[in-house]
C-alpha cells in the first residue's frame, strides 16, 4: 500500500489534527482523525454526505469545538482560539454572501474586520475582483449575480484577508457541469500562482482529483485513504473506496500465489499481492471480451454509450454482474453470448 501520509507532527505542517473527535448526541461525526496539511498544499477531502467532511472544516474554522483530540495551526494549539481570531478562510457551500451588501461590501468585509485602511481595502478589492475575473463588478448587488459570479465573489471575499489556510466547502457544488469543469481548472491555476494552502471538501471525485495535490477519502468520520489522486485512483485500499470511486466489479475472493479464486472463476492478480481472503476489484478496462467458448461464459445484458467507450454489462451464471469497457467498434450487442478473460494489470486486491 502506498499511502503517502504527512505526519501530523512534521515541522512543515501548517494545519495538523491529532485524534480530532466531534460527537453529535454521543455519535462520533469525526472519529479520531489525524490529518496534516503542509504549507502551499492543496488537500481535498472526498466522501459521501454524512461522512463528516463538513464537520472537519467547521472544526478547523473554529465553528465547531472538538470533543477530544487537538488541532493546531502553525504549531499553535487552537482549542481556545475563537473563529474570528484563527486567520483561516472558509468559503461556504452556498456562498453565504451578505445579501444587504454589494459585491464591494462583501469582498471588503474581512479587510474591514481586520482594520485595513480604507485606501488599501479599495486597492485589494479591485485586485481580487480582477483576479477572479469580475473586474468592475464592485457596485453590483449580490442578488443580481449568477451562480458562477457569486462563487467568484465568495472566493474573492475569502481570499481578501489573506488567510493562511483557505477552506472550501463543496466549492463548485451548485454550478452546472461545464462551468464546474472550467472553474476547477481556474481554481487550481490560481491557487498555484498565489501559493495558497487549501483544504477543500467535496463529494465529487472528479472535482477532487482535478483540484488536489492530495486526496483524503473519508468514511463515517474516519479517514479511509489518503494519497495523491493517482495513487487513490489506481490503488483504492478497500471496497468502500473502490465503490465510492464508481467501481462496481468488486467481489469476495481468496488469493493464493498469482491467482485469486472468485465467483467469476480464476482471476490473475499482480505480483506481490497480499495472500488469503480479500475483496477483489477488476477495473472495467481489465475485462476483455473474447470469442464465446473461451474464458468465462457471459451474456450481454445491456450496453451504455459513454463517449470514449461503451460500458457493457455482462451477466454470468451464479455470480455478480460484470462491467466491461469496450472500444466503440468492438462492443457486442445485447443478448450476445461471449467469453471474458481478465488482465492482471487492472486487478486490485483490496483490504477487506
Amino acid at each position: 500500500m502506498t499511502q503517502s501520509r504527512q505526519s501530523p507532527q512534521s515541522p512543515q505542517s501548517l494545519l495538523s489534527l491529532e485524534r480530532a473527535t466531534v460527537r453529535f448526541d454521543g455519535r462520533p461525526v469525526l472519529d479520531a482523525v489525524d490529518l496534516g496539511v503542509a504549507e502551499g498544499e492543496i488537500v481535498c477531502v472526498l466522501g459521501p454526505s454524512g461522512s463528516g467532511k463538513s464537520t472537519l472544516l467547521r472544526a478547523v474554522a473554529g465553528l465547531q469545538p472538538l470533543d477530544s483530540g487537538s488541532l493546531s495551526l502553525d504549531g499553535r494549539d487552537q482549542a481556545r482560539v475563537p473563529a474570528h481570531r484563527r486567520g483561516v478562510g472558509l468559503m461556504f457551500q452556498d456562498h453565504q454572501l451578505f445579501p444587504q451588501r454589494d459585491v464591494d461590501g462583501n469582498v471588503a468585509f474581512g479587510l474591514r474586520m481586520h482594520g485595513f485602511p480604507r485606501a488599501e481595502q479599495d486597492d485589494r478589492v479591485r485586485d481580487l475582483l480582477e483576479l477572479v475575473g469580475l473586474p468592475g463588478a464592485a457596485r453590483r448587488g449580490v442578488a443580481s449575480l449568477s451562480g458562477g459570479e457569486q462563487q467568484r465573489v465568495a472566493l474573492a471575499r475569502a481570499l481578501a484577508p489573506r488567510p493562511r489556510l483557505l477552506m472550501l466547502d463543496e466549492p463548485l457544488g451548485q454550478l452546472d457541469r461545464s462551468l464546474r469543469e472550467r472553474l476547477v481548472v481556474e481554481l487550481r491555476e490560481l491557487f498555484g500562482r498565489l501559493g495558497t494552502t487549501v483544504l477543500a471538501v467535496t463529494h465529487d471525485q472528479g472535482e477532487a482529483f482535478a483540484l488536489a495535490d492530495r486526496v483524503v477519502v473519508m468514511r463515517d468520520g474516519r479517514i479511509a485513504q489518503s494519497g495523491t489522486p493517482l495513487e487513490v485512483w489506481q490503488r483504492p485500499v478497500d471496497e468502500f473506496v473502490a465503490r465510492f470511486l464508481g467501481f462496481d466489479n468488486v467481489v469476495a475472493a481468496t488469493v493464493s500465489g498469482q491467482v485469486a479464486d472468485t465467483p467469476w472463476g480464476k482471476v490473475p492478480v499482480p505480483e506481490g499481492s497480499a495472500q488469503g481472503p480479500c475483496a477483489l476489484l477488476v477495473r472495467p478496462a481489465g475485462v476483455r471480451v473474447v470469442a464465446a467458448g473461451e474464458g468465462l461464459r457471459c451474456t450481454v445484458a445491456a450496453r451504455t454509450f459513454r463517449g470514449t467507450h461503451v460500458a457493457v454489462h455482462l451477466s454470468t451464471e451464479g455470480a455478480p454482474r460484470l462491467e466491461a469497457a469496450c472500444a466503440l467498434r468492438e462492443a457486442p450487442e445485447p443478448g450476445d453470448e461471449i467469453g471474458v478473460v481478465f488482465d492482471a494489470a487492472e486487478v486490485v486486491v483490496l483490504r477487506r
Binding site: 474554522a61 473563529a83 474570528h84 472558509l90 453565504q96 451578505f98 468585509f109 474586520m113 471575499r157
Partner: protein
Amino acid sequence: MVLPVAFFALFFAYPVAAIVARGLHVDGVWQFGRIGDVLAESGVRHVLWFTVWQALASTALTLLIALPGAYVFARFEFRGKQVLRAVVTVPFVLPTVVVGTAFLALLGRGGLLDELWGVRLDTTVWAILLAHVFFNYAVVVRTVGGLWSQLDPRQEEAARMLGASRFAAWRKVTLPALAPAVAAAALMVFLFTFTSFGVVQILGGPTFATLEVEIYRQTSEIFDLSTAAVLTLVQFAAVGAILAVHAWTVRRRETALRLVDASVTARRPRGAGQWALLAGVLGTVVLLVVLPLAVLVERSFGAPGFGYYEALTNDDGGIFLVAPIEAVGNSLRYALAATAIAVVIGGLAATALARRGAGRLVRGFDALLMLPLGVSAVTVGFGFLIALDEPPLDLRSSWILVPLAQALVGVPFVIRTMLPVLRAVDTRLREAAAVLGASPWRVWREVDLPLVRRALLIAAGFAFAVSLGEFGATVFIARPDNPTLPVAVARLLGRPGDLNYGQAMALSTILMVVCAVALLVLERLRVPSRAGATGEF
C-alpha cells in the same frame, strides 16, 4: 437571556405569585376552598357566564363579518387597497378607551343614532359586540387573508382539472388549508374579547361585566382584594388554556403548505357578483370602522370652535390635580420609556430564542413570554399594585412603575415581530462573518442588525402604540396627578355633564390621531414579501 428572565421573574412571576398568596393564603393557612366559595357566588357565576357567551358571540360575529373581507383582501386587486388595508388596521392599535368612546358617540345617549332615530344601544349587549367586531376585524383579515393571499391558486385549478366543481375545489383544497388560520384567528379574537376591559368598562354600564371588569370593581370599588385575586386566578387558568390551544393551531398552520408570493394571486374582480362582494366589504368597513371614528371626531367639536379642546387646558376642572392636556405629555413620556424597555427586553429575548439549538427550556420560555399578552392587563396592574408597593421592592411612588407595566404588555409584540425575522437569518451568514474576522459583537452589528433593523423599528412602533393605549394595567397604578390619556378619558367619562363628555371625545380624538400616525409610519416600514408578519397575533 438573563436580563429578560430576571425582568419576567420580577415583574410578572412575582406579582402573579403575590396574587395567588393574596387570594388563597388567608390568615396564615392555604385555603384552596376559597376558589369554590367564590365561584359559588351567584354574582360571580353571572359574570363568568357573561364573559364566556359574549366572547363566543363576538368571535362568531367577527368571523361572519370579517371572512368576506379576508377573501376580498386576499384575492382582489383594486385601487386604494393599500389605504383600505391601513384603515382596517387602525382599530387594532387604537386604545380600547377610544373605541369605547367612539361607540358611545355613535350608539349612546345623545349619540348619532339617538339623534337620528332615537335608537340607543349603549345599554344593550349589541354595543359591546359591535365594538369587539370593530376591534378584531383586522385580526381576522390579516391572519386569514395573509395566508389566503399566499395560497397557490393553481392548487384549486389542479382540483378543477381533476373534475371538481368550483365550490367543491374550494371546499376540498382551500378550506382545509385555511382552517388552521381561521382557528388561530378565532382563538385570538376569543382571547381578546374574553379579557376585554376598556370597551366593557365604558359601554357595559352597571349591567354587563366581564371577569376583567369584575376584578377591577372588586379591587377599586369594593376593596375585596382576596376575591379579586381568586378571580384573577380563574382568568389566568382560562387564558392559559386558550393560549395552549392557540399554540397548537399555530404549529399545525406551519405544516407544509405551498405558498407563493401574495402579489401573484390577486386580480381585478370579474362579474357582477364579485363587484357586489367588494362593494359589500367596502360598505361594511365604512359603517363599522370609519363611521364610529368619524362620529367621535365630530362630537369632539360639539362645542363652538375648539371649545372642548380649549377646556382641556384648564386645570381648575376639579377632576384632576392638573390640566387634562398634560395627560398627553405623560402618555408620550411613559410610552417612550416603555418602548425602550420593551425593545431591549424583547430584543434580547428574541435574540436568545432565535439561536438555533435553543433547548426545550428556552422554547418553553417563548410560550411564557406570550402570557402577559393574554393574561390581561388587569392582572398585570393588579399584580403590580399588591406586589410592588411594599418592601423588598417598593416602586409605588416611582414613575417607572407605569412604563414597566406597559413594557410587560408590549414585550410579546416585540418578540412576535422580531423572532420570525431573526430566525430567518441564516446562521451560516454569521459564521461567514466570524471566519472573516468579526467578533461576536461585530457579527451582531454587521449581519443581524442590518437585516432586522426594519423589524426592530416596527416592533418599537407597536410597543409604542400598545403602551400609548394601554388602559387595564395603567388604570391601577397611574398616580392621580399623572394620568395617561386613556386613564384621563375614562375619568372624564365617569363624570356627568356635557363638558366632561366633550372633553373625553376631544382627548380620545387626540389619542387616536397619535396612534394613527404611529400606525401610518409602521405601514411604510412594513417588511415587504413577508405579508402578515406585522399583523399576526
